[in-house]
């Protein structure tokens, strides 16, 4: 239901010939609640996630945003790209600010949705505590983490969401280093362990899947969380035209898994019929280009191991 597949081409969601896909796209509102003229990099994956989130939410929403790329590129005073009410306060407190907004709405008897859109730094690192508090208290908010896997706003420094092997300005490759040497923090499961009703992963490479998940998250009572992979041409090192393609490739190689956790029950949304080799994804990006065959096969083995477990359980 959520995942629109083309009946002709099977698992691939290039989907242009897919009737359902067209219908779903056409059902989205024309109205752009994110104004033109924002200053996101050409080909920015994250701003696609922001724009589509507003397509899903409509006007009756208040957006809370921690400090980060999306805040900087959408609000250079006296301009704003936000046609919905918007507040930015600080880097680490979006969960708390959103809690305050929601409690105020509750007092005022309003049904307006509260939507947080934060980057991986503001979510999995510095904002984790405030988010954890909001989740544990059951605040009625939807939190979208746009994950570009490093601190892009400050110039591509390593975050807790930076994947194994990636080079950033603070995890450079060198004589003694192949870049980031720890796997990515498993944020969706950290969120899920707060017993929240809805958690999902998504990728801008599969935009309609993402949009549907945002809609679902907004409709849930209580905290909901979406972790969306948003390729960053600047930070990852690829051509600006490839953001969607890489978002897809991450899923098709099995490196990024699309799943939902509804009331504690986890469901894999998409099982690639034939997983592409991870090297296709890795070699397409500057941040992985230095990796030796050894490290690449290590990554492949890890992905295979994870999928073996998934396939066994389904």
């Amino acid at each position: 239901m959520l995942f629109v597949r083309c009946k002709e081409c099977g698992a691939k969601l290039s989907a242009s010939r897919c009737f359902e896909f067209k219908l779903a796209v056409n059902n989205l509102p024309d109205e752009e609640l994110l104004s033109y003229g924002h200053r996101a990099c050409s080909g920015c994956g994250a701003i696609i996630a922001v724009r589509l989130a507003l397509k899903a939410s409509g006007r009756d929403v208040i957006v809370v945003q921690p400090t980060g790329c999306m805040e900087v590129v959408t609000t250079p005073y006296p301009e704003t790209s936000w046609k919905v009410p918007y507040i930015h306060v600080a880097f680490e407190n979006a969960g708390a600010v959103a809690s305050g907004v929601w409690r105020a709405l509750k007092v005022l008897g309003k049904k307006t949705k509260v939507l947080v859109i934060g980057g991986d730094g503001g979510t999995v690192d510095i904002g984790l505590q405030a988010l954890s508090g909001a989740l544990e208290r059951g605040e009625n908010i939807t939190y979208i983490c746009y994950d570009n896997e490093a601190y892009m706003n400050t110039g591509v420094q390593r975050s807790g969401a930076t994947p194994f092997g990636a080079v950033t300005t603070t995890s450079p490759a060198g004589k003694l280093s192949f870049g980031e040497d720890r796997p990515k923090k498993d944020m969706p499961h950290i969120v899920a362990s707060h017993n929240v009703p809805y958690v999902a992963t998504a990728s801008v490479g599969y935009p309609m899947d993402y949009v549907e998940k945002v809609k679902k998250a907004l409709s849930v009572e209580g905290p909901s969380y979406i972790h969306v992979l948003t390729p960053c041409p600047t930070g990852w090192g690829f051509d600006s035209s490839k953001s969607i393609e890489l978002g897809k490739l991450a899923v098709d190689t099995g490196m990024w898994i699309l799943y939902e956790i509804e009331n504690g029950v986890e469901k894999i949304n998409y099982i690639p019929t034939k997983r592409k080799p991870v090297v296709e994804y890795l070699k397409a990006q500057r941040r992985f280009r230095h990796l030796s065959d050894d490290i690449i096969s290590k990554i492949q083995e890890e992905v295979d191991r994870v999928w073996e477990r998934i396939l066994k359980s389904t």
């Binding site: 936000w82 907004v101 105020a104």
Partner: protein, 389 residues
Amino acid sequence: MRDIVEGSRAVAEAVKLCRAKVISAYPITPQTHIVEYLAEFVANGELDAEFVRVESEHSALSVCVGASATGVRTFTATSSQGLALMFEVLFIASGLRLPIVMVNANRALSAPISIWNDQSDSTAVRDCGWIQVYVETNQEALDSVIQAYKVAEKVLLPFMVCMDGFVLTHTYEPVDIPDQRLVDDYLPEYDPPIKLDPENPVTIGPIADPNYYMEFKLVQDEAMNEAKRVLKDEDEKFGEIFGRRYGLIEEYGTDDADVVLVTMGSLAGTIKDVVDRMREKGKNVGLVRVRLYRPFPKDEIVRALKDFEVIGVIEKDNCFGFGGGALFHDVRSALYGKSNAKVIGFVAGLGGRDIPYWDIEKAYEMCYEARVKEVPDVVWIGVRDWFRR
């Protein structure tokens, strides 16, 4: 209604009377009783509010920021390390022009860790753009919270009511708890001109580049100066309704005094008793209590102090690397060019060290000495020398 209650209770009653709608707090001694009473009010249905049990002080204030920006009246309370943890959000709350009211139960800052009273916590954030009032009694704490909402919402700035931790928060004394009807007359419903509302979308908290930042700050500073006038007016109106006025500063025995001490907070009460005693012994001493600390009432201070030869400023905080407390520096700065008085900074009562009558008398005696001989600019009183040996 006249009653005898704990200081924390007096504050909680004020918050209830002001009909705060979102209350957010993280426990820290000696603030806890305030929020415990409020939690009880909410749990009993005596106060129709959301009580948000956050996971840190940083989030406590952040919840207030979110709620206040959405257009409801908010309250939080903290102390010491909690205030320090809020540091970042303090500046944002004032920069975003949100009329949040917070009570700070004054407590020393770590290290060494100390749960006891001094004013190092809130004086350290004097320049964060919050209005700051230091109260002498629990009645004044209660009244100041009510005045705080009125003033904060008029000038759109956050307001910090500072009350000495334990010394006031944990003390039972008689307090007049005003009628709800009178408070409702004095304090209209909160309806800010700018709020998060899908009917009329605004962007709050944009990034301002060097072309715009300064104007935001200038207007904020103008609002702070305006707050001085507004508090004066509102204190007067409050007096007409409730019969109690506090002023921006309070003068005690200054008319004919030889020397004068300046202080903030509950210490003023003890000093007043010392003033009376010394006057009985023929020593005409006086006191100026600074109630409004930010914005600093420069004109009032100058008018009250300019004719004194010697002024002692006694306070529970210290500016490391300069010496003397923040109030000492502010008083001296306000008097610059207006008076040639010798100003002595007395540092006292840090980390809850008691300030007994005789230490205050000593400070007055030193002020007398300064009229005839050289005395140091900064004197720590009430310290022992066990650590030298």
